[in-house]
Structures are given as structure tokens and as C-alpha cells.
């Protein structure tokens, strides 16, 4: 028996396999003329609550489909069922680290159940997590991040990855502002420090603040 150490040059991006699948998803979306939103946030920032408003407000104006990434439950999908919008639930509890984000393959597996040719906008509600989803492209056109003001002003500096990758930030739970020691100016400064000039809308799922503006933003792109 003879043993030798050999070195092999690899130069392969850690996420190349995922990115290739994301690109394949994107081609399917383009073919169906879908505008695809990857919605990301930490757990409980209000993604589903804002989606409920969005589906309600855009009914009859733009055809929205939803792909729900949830750890194990179908609770979020159940909350949206009353809108009779095409919804598919993707389970993320298989595989290593699978429960903390959607990847391109999980999204692909959900697409078979969605009538892509009958919708204008696909909103993908990612798993609530402030880090992992930002690393994994799923074939989206834009990333919309929901940030709740209950999370504190320093989050953009602590978790720049997701804030940097966002195309639009929905600053949610604005109704709670009077009850919190939250410095909005400071938060916006931190946001601009990591993602200068990124689009932002102040929202509240409780009062409906900003929902019109957000829906206009979405419809402008979805109906294009």
C-alpha cells in the first residue's frame, strides 16, 4: 500500500449549486412573466400580517401567488387561505440547516403546485431568520425585508448581510412607536450606513399605515 498527499485546486463557490438552481427558477418565472418577491425578516417581524393586508388590498388589481416557507406548521398558509389566492406551503425541515431558510431547491419543489401562468406576482415568505435567508438566492427579482421597530436600532450594523441585500425595507409595527424607546432617526442612519439610500416604507399591520404605498410599489412592478 502506498499513500501520498495530493492537492487539488477546486475554486468552486460554496453557493454555486444553489445559484444555478435559482437561475433555473428565475427562467421559469421570466417565462411566466412573474414578478417575484423574496420576503425576509427575523421571526415575527410581521411578514404574514403584511401579506394579509397585501392580498386584501390588491384583490382584483393584481394576481398574487404565495409560497410559504415555514419550519413545520401550516399556520401562516392557513391565515392566508381565506383570500383564495394560489398558495403553496414548502416544508423546510429536511436536511442540514434546512429549517432556517428557503433555498432554491425548496422553492423549485413548491413551484409544481403553483399556476405560475395565472399570476403576476409571486411572494415568497421566507423562514423568519435574520441571517440565513440572505445567503440563498431563490430566483427572485427583488428582496423585500420586513424589519420591526421592536428589534432595536442597531440591527443593520449587527446583521448587515440581509440589510445590504434588501431592495426595499418595510419598517413595520410603527403603531408601537409611542410605546417604545425607539430612535427612528438613528435606525435610518444605521440602515443607510449599510445600504445607502435603500427604499423604505413605514408600515403597520395594526393600523394599515403604509400599506397603500407598499401595494402601489408592488403593483407598479407586478403589472409591468
Amino acid at each position: 500500500m502506498h499513500r501520498t498527499a495530493v492537492k487539488k485546486v477546486v475554486l468552486e463557490g460554496v453557493l454555486d449549486a444553489n445559484d444555478a438552481l435559482a437561475e433555473a427558477n428565475r427562467q421559469r418565472f421570466d417565462h411566466a412573466n412573474n414578478f417575484v418577491v423574496n420576503m425576509m425578516s427575523s421571526p415575527g417581524a410581521g411578514k404574514t400580517a403584511l401579506l394579509e393586508h397585501t392580498l386584501d388590498r390588491t384583490l382584483g388589481k393584481v394576481r398574487i401567488g404565495v409560497l410559504e416557507g415555514d419550519v413545520q406548521t401550516t399556520l401562516d398558509a392557513d391565515r392566508l387561505a381565506r383570500f383564495h389566492t394560489p398558495i403553496v406551503q414548502v416544508n423546510t425541515d429536511a436536511g442540514f440547516g434546512g429549517e432556517c431558510h428557503l433555498d432554491a431547491n425548496m422553492v423549485r419543489s413548491g413551484l409544481a403546485e403553483l399556476p405560475l401562468h395565472d399570476i403576476d406576482v409571486l411572494i415568497i415568505e421566507n423562514v423568519g431568520n435574520l441571517v440565513c435567508p440572505a445567503e440563498f438566492k431563490v430566483g427572485e427579482d427583488v428582496r423585500v425585508m420586513v424589519y420591526a421597530i421592536t428589534e432595536g436600532e442597531e440591527k443593520p450594523l449587527k446583521y448587515p448581510l440581509m440589510f445590504r441585500s434588501a431592495d426595499l425595507v418595510l419598517i413595520n409595527k410603527m403603531d408601537l412607536l409611542p410605546h417604545l424607546h425607539f430612535d427612528l432617526e438613528l435606525f435610518l442612519r444605521n440602515l443607510d450606513a449599510v445600504n445607502p439610500g435603500v427604499g423604505r416604507i413605514l408600515t403597520s399591520a395594526a393600523t394599515g399605515q403604509g400599506i397603500d404605498e407598499w401595494c402601489s410599489w408592488l403593483m407598479e412592478r407586478g403589472n409591468a
Partner: protein
């Protein structure tokens, strides 16, 4: 958790390139802007590698500091914190040139050949 998912991909890549050979080292480049915690990645790597041809391999992680070229004045700056600013003119109009790396650079493997094969190779 982020590191666990990344480690899974690193092990997949290493195992595929090793093609059955035993991997002893995996050299990885990680940019500072990737928000990867090296100790968490090492720990995850050891965990995920168990039961694969990469089990027991050492992950050698090289961190790459962030840098960017100013689109206004052309200066290349090393970027240490947010906001990312040109160190010459102070503007934020930067094109990131380093710090977003996340790739497997190379592998070190054990080649196991018996003497007959070695002779046959020649």
C-alpha cells in the same frame, strides 16, 4: 445556523471533488462581508462531515478583508466597518473588490494506490 448550511455545501463540494478519496484538508476563502463566524463554521464542518469521505478533515479558513474601489476618485480602500467609505474622499460610491468571497479554494487528499496500480500508471 447560517454556518451549518454553509458547512453542508462545503462538505458536498469537497466530497464531490474527492471522488471517493479521503480528504485531509479543505481550504476555504471567506470574505469579511459574508458575516460568517469562523469558529461556528469549523464546528459545523466537523459535525456535517461525519460519515462522509470528508470526516476528520481539517478546514483551513482564510478570511479576506473587505476592500473597495472608489468610483469617484479611483482610490482603493480597505474597509473595516460600516458605512463603507472611500478613505481618500469619504464618498460611499464604492465598488466592492474584496470581502464577498465564499469559495472552496483547494483540497488536500490522501491518494491510496497499491503498488500494482502505481506500476500500471507508469
Amino acid at each position: 445556523m447560517h454556518e451549518l448550511a454553509i458547512a453542508g455545501h462545503v462538505v458536498d463540494i469537497a466530497a464531490r471533488h474527492a471522488d471517493g478519496r479521503t480528504v485531509t484538508k479543505v481550504f476555504l476563502k471567506v470574505g469579511h462581508l459574508r458575516q460568517v463566524v469562523p469558529s461556528a463554521l469549523s464546528f459545523s464542518f466537523d459535525l456535517v462531515a461525519q460519515g462522509t469521505t470528508v470526516e476528520g478533515a481539517e478546514m483551513v479558513l482564510e478570511e479576506v478583508p473587505a476592500a473597495g474601489r472608489c468610483q469617484d476618485c479611483g482610490t482603493e480602500s480597505v474597509l473595516k466597518s460600516f458605512p463603507l467609505l472611500c478613505e481618500a474622499c469619504g464618498e460611499s460610491n464604492l465598488q466592492i473588490t474584496r470581502g464577498e468571497e465564499l469559495y472552496v479554494e483547494s483540497l488536500e487528499m490522501e491518494e491510496q494506490q497499491n503498488n500494482e496500480e502505481l506500476i500500471a500508471d507508469r
